[in-house]
Amino acid sequence: MQVLMREDFDTLIEKLQGADYEVIGPRIREGAIVLDTVDSAGDLPAGWTDEQEGGRYTLHKTDSPSLFHYTVGPASLKSFLYPSKSLLCRVYGGHNDFDVEEPEIEAPRRAFVGVRACELHAMAIQDHVFAGGRHPDPVYTARRNNIFLVAVNCSKAGNTCFCASMGTGPEATAHYDLALTEVVEDGTHYFLIDAGTKAGRSMLDELPLRPARAAEEEAGAAVVRNAAESMGRSMDTEGIEDVFFENLESPLWQEVAERCLTCANCTMACPTCFCSTVEDISTIDNDMAERWRVWDSCFTTNFSYVFGGAIRKASSSRYRHWITHKLAAWQEQFGTPGCVGCGRCITWCPVGIDITEEAAVLRRQREARQGEARYGAGTRTAY
């Protein structure tokens, strides 16, 4: 482990720019920390911290000089690697005589600074979905191959975070080029820095670093421990597939449907949700048509439309589908859960519907039923 002093942080950004990367990092825009171009460390939200709750996000300024003392905002790597709209092709000409033009895929060289552990895990899940099979997605893979990732271990966990119980954080353990731990103590401000790839190691060679002392390494470990211990929420994943598959007719679905707006914010904000739809448009004189891929959501009616109508008409069936896919069916489909515990779907749900709370209710319902089967109906618990 080596040490990068805070006053040398700009060197990291300059070296990344020198390597021809557009540097993207956390920045404050309209009251939230989003991902945007960063020219220097001065653009980072120094001293700012966030507070998150179901349906609520607020920023506060503190006296701390720390650059990364907050958790994830609404934006994620997803919108950079898998853009919300991409043109698939353009068709010119008439009925029997036409040309198809495939647009060149834009894959800018980008370095992301301040990427969290949950985010890296979410990206790995999307890697599997988009690039893992026999037909890798050309847009995703081109963009994915052109990025450099500078992770930051979380120094605090948000109130809606539950990565510790999903095994995806708060410490970055894989998928990064460089990983940082920010330490602010006794008037010193430095970063423990470590490389995860060859590209990361050659970047280390260019930075003004010194080996870390044992006390500094311990201070870094304490930062991450503190985040793990301040996790606002948790998810019990033990036997979670049964919890869902044995609750397909739970009364909970109707109860959630009364609160759910079917607005799709949860899926749009989720860094692993990958659904899209294909839209065709044509000009009025019919001499040109375009085919677009746009983000879609299982909360829309058309998502489950087949000939004759939508399969999931009721919002209860949409919520059931979403959470069951995220936490149970994904495992069977892709070998991991579809959730990394980042808490975005909780914070950015406009009415604060909470995936951890609904999963816990389902677990209690199942346990109550099991209790009943074992000891007779007299043990019925109210839920």
Binding site: A32, P74, L261, A264, N265, T283, P350
Partner: protein
């Protein structure tokens, strides 16, 4: 080669501000293509030439507010193969629909020097309450691209690519941080049909609901959350009672909260 006859297009106006039909003229880039593809048979805002019906496509703007209107829309339906309503007035009554919640005679006597000259219906109504409507283009005003899209789709024999989901989908696609979550600003986006590209949240305002109810509007859940945000019952009622005050769920939710406000009910749900 056989050139098909150009479809005849007519544009009609009822109680409205003209903004929606003007968006047709506002289609600078597409206007020429539109003119090449359809023959504009009746469009008083654009041309004095009048070609008699029947018409292949009629675009109808505005709502029905007089007895004369109610007769004229029947004539238009009879003369039109396809009738498309454009804008909030035509599809749901529009802002003038607010008068349905008040006493029209009282307004007339306050506003006009000679109330006896004014002949108006007690209630404003959307076009669909009078005749069969083939397609509705929502918005106040409409998105001009939707208008071109509906015509293009019809001429190509395909389904128009116009969303029915919530504004939130467009809001997140464009990367706006939610104003309701991040600022506590009440926003109609979750119950409003997309189509504008989520302009208002992108400029730090809550959505005003111009496009009317989305496909599954859970207005009760939204209002309950607004109450938690500290919005007064009367203001909740006002939010539903704007451009689309008369449309289905907005009308019901607006009335529910207007009653609550009138009864001075507290923030708690009253017993049925």
């Amino acid at each position: 080669m056989h050139t098909p006859r150009k479809p005849k297009l007519a544009v009609w106006k009822f109680a409205s501000c003209d903004g929606c039909q003007l968006s047709l003229l506002d289609c600078e880039d597409e206007l020429l293509a539109v003119a090449n593809t359809v023959s504009i048979a009746y469009f008083p805002e654009a041309t004095r030439a009048v070609v008699d019906g029947p018409y292949d496509i009629s675009l109808v703007e505005g709502s029905i507010s007089t007895g004369e209107d109610a007769e004229r829309i029947q004539m238009i339906r009879d003369e039109s193969n396809l009738l498309i309503t454009i804008g909030a007035c035509a599809t749901s009554g529009g802002i003038q629909g607010l008068r349905n919640f008040a006493n029209v005679d009282q307004y007339i006597s306050t506003v006009y020097a000679h109330p006896e000259y004014i002949h108006t219906l007690r209630n404003v109504s959307p076009i669909s309450q009078h005749v069969f409507v083939d397609y509705e283009v929502r918005g106040c005003p409409i998105n001009k691209y939707h208008l071109v899209e509906v015509l293009a789709a019809h001429l190509a024999g395909r389904r128009p690519n116009i969303p029915s989901y919530s504004v939130c989908v467009e809001c997140k696609r464009r990367g706006t941080s939610c104003v309701m979550v991040a600022h506590g600003t009440p926003c109609m986006g979750p119950v409003t049909q997309a189509g504008c590209g989520a302009i208002c949240p992108a400029y730090n305002r809550g959505c005003y609901g111009c496009y009317g109810p989305s496909e599954e509007p859970n207005t009760q859940a939204l209002s309950a959350w607004w109450t938690k945000l500290g919005v007064e019952d009367a203001d909740i009622a006002r939010s539903y009672r704007s451009y689309n005050a008369l449309s289905g769920v907005f009308r019901r939710e607006g009335s529910r909260y207007a009653k609550k406000a009138a009864a001075g009910a507290t923030n708690e749900e009253r017993p049925q």
